[in-house]
Amino acid sequence: MQSQLPIYPEQASNFAPHVDALMLFITGVCFLFALGITIAIIIFFFKYHRKTPNAVGIPTHEDSRLEAVWMIVPLILAMAMFGWGAVIYVDYRHTPKDTLDIYVIAKQWMWKAQQPNGLKEFNELHVPMGRNVRLVLASEDVIHDFFVPAFRVKMDVVPGHYNTMWFRPTKAGRYHFFCSQYCGTNHALMAGWVTVMEPSDYAAWLSGSSGGEGNSIAAGEKLFAEKACITCHLANGTGRGPSLNGVYGAQVLLADGSTVTADEAYVRESILQPNAKIVARYAPSMPTFQGQLTEEQIIALTAYIKSLQSQPVPAKGFGIAPPTGNK
């Protein structure tokens, strides 16, 4: 485990140890330089402090050999840094042949990924451990950037181009990924989780029931837009309805002051009988969808709302109850 105040993120890909070693090297060289300069300045500062008000310093003469030394030595060290960095960079850009290809699409402000078997994910990415994974990145609107600190990888997602990046996960776990190219209002919410799984788990996940979940999330997202839910339940909390980010599984504060757990039953009830439990601070303005949705569609919508669980909750405009004192 990492300590409370780590100074480097977890190492979870083939690149991470190399990048950290390079970091250590450059930090070491720079630290020695900074230390040398600082010590020299401090010594001179006190040793040559003006003795009498009229005293002048003793001129020291320009020395071309000295100047040459302090140009050439830093140059050599700089070239070492350049060379080492270049070697790692070439590795970054040289994708191996046998990759598992996953397609990633960015749009304001979410990530969609498609696994090789067509399974889709939102703000989530599942990858098998030990396999070379190649991400093909495309953007539907502005420039985004896919960044996984634990993997030490990052690549801009540029509209009109396909950029690719690759990595080999080396440690199972869940890691943050971020959008790190500023892309507008909810840039900071455009983040999610990479899950690194054992290859067998990954295979099971791809083919198993959770695969169906992935597909129903996609269907649910489509419905969310088609049925115009999206026009009120804005993710950033500025809509007429509360943002649904992070709501699933949380306590919801209702208008009458009571709270309710946002489980599947609650979501279902809220879709079919919206006025039964009104979220605090919101008007009962949602129409009922009774008779307009099939069961399958309700399940899909629920799965989609579930998938928003990991989304950051906006500062304002959500229904989640504030934490109570004893927790």
């Binding site: 397609y103 699409i105 396909y162």
Partner: protein, 107 residues
């Protein structure tokens, strides 16, 4: 600083050279030289520009400092064009060969 005065005769000669250049460049443009068309067009344009700079703008008779200014401006323009070209001319073709799956097309 004694000023060099260019004679009108020389100006007339330059004028004719520039006119000639204009007709040459048009004449060359309507013939097919393959990739050389652009090279010829730019070479003639550069020739014409050089004449204007050297004689009409008196660069040939100007102090070294002015000539240095001109060289610098060309040098920096070259930096802008050439270093950007290092990117565009060496872009890998691999990315464009990726066959996008259906998800890449919006419904």
């Amino acid at each position: 600083m004694s000023e060099h005065i260019v004679s009108p005769k020389l100006y007339v000669v330059i004028l004719f050279a520039l006119m000639l250049g204009t007709f040459l460049t048009v004449a060359a443009a309507v013939r097919d030289f393959g990739p050389w068309n652009i090279v010829i067009a730019l070479a003639i344009a550069t020739g014409k520009a050089t004449l204007v700079i050297l004689y009409f703008m008196h660069a040939r008779y100007s102090p070294k400092r002015t000539q240095l200014v001109i060289v610098c401006s060309i040098f920096w323009l070259a930096i802008l064009l050439a270093l950007t070209a290092t990117d565009y001319m060496t872009r890998s073709q691999r990315e464009s060969q990726i066959a996008p799956p259906s998800i890449f097309y919006r419904a």
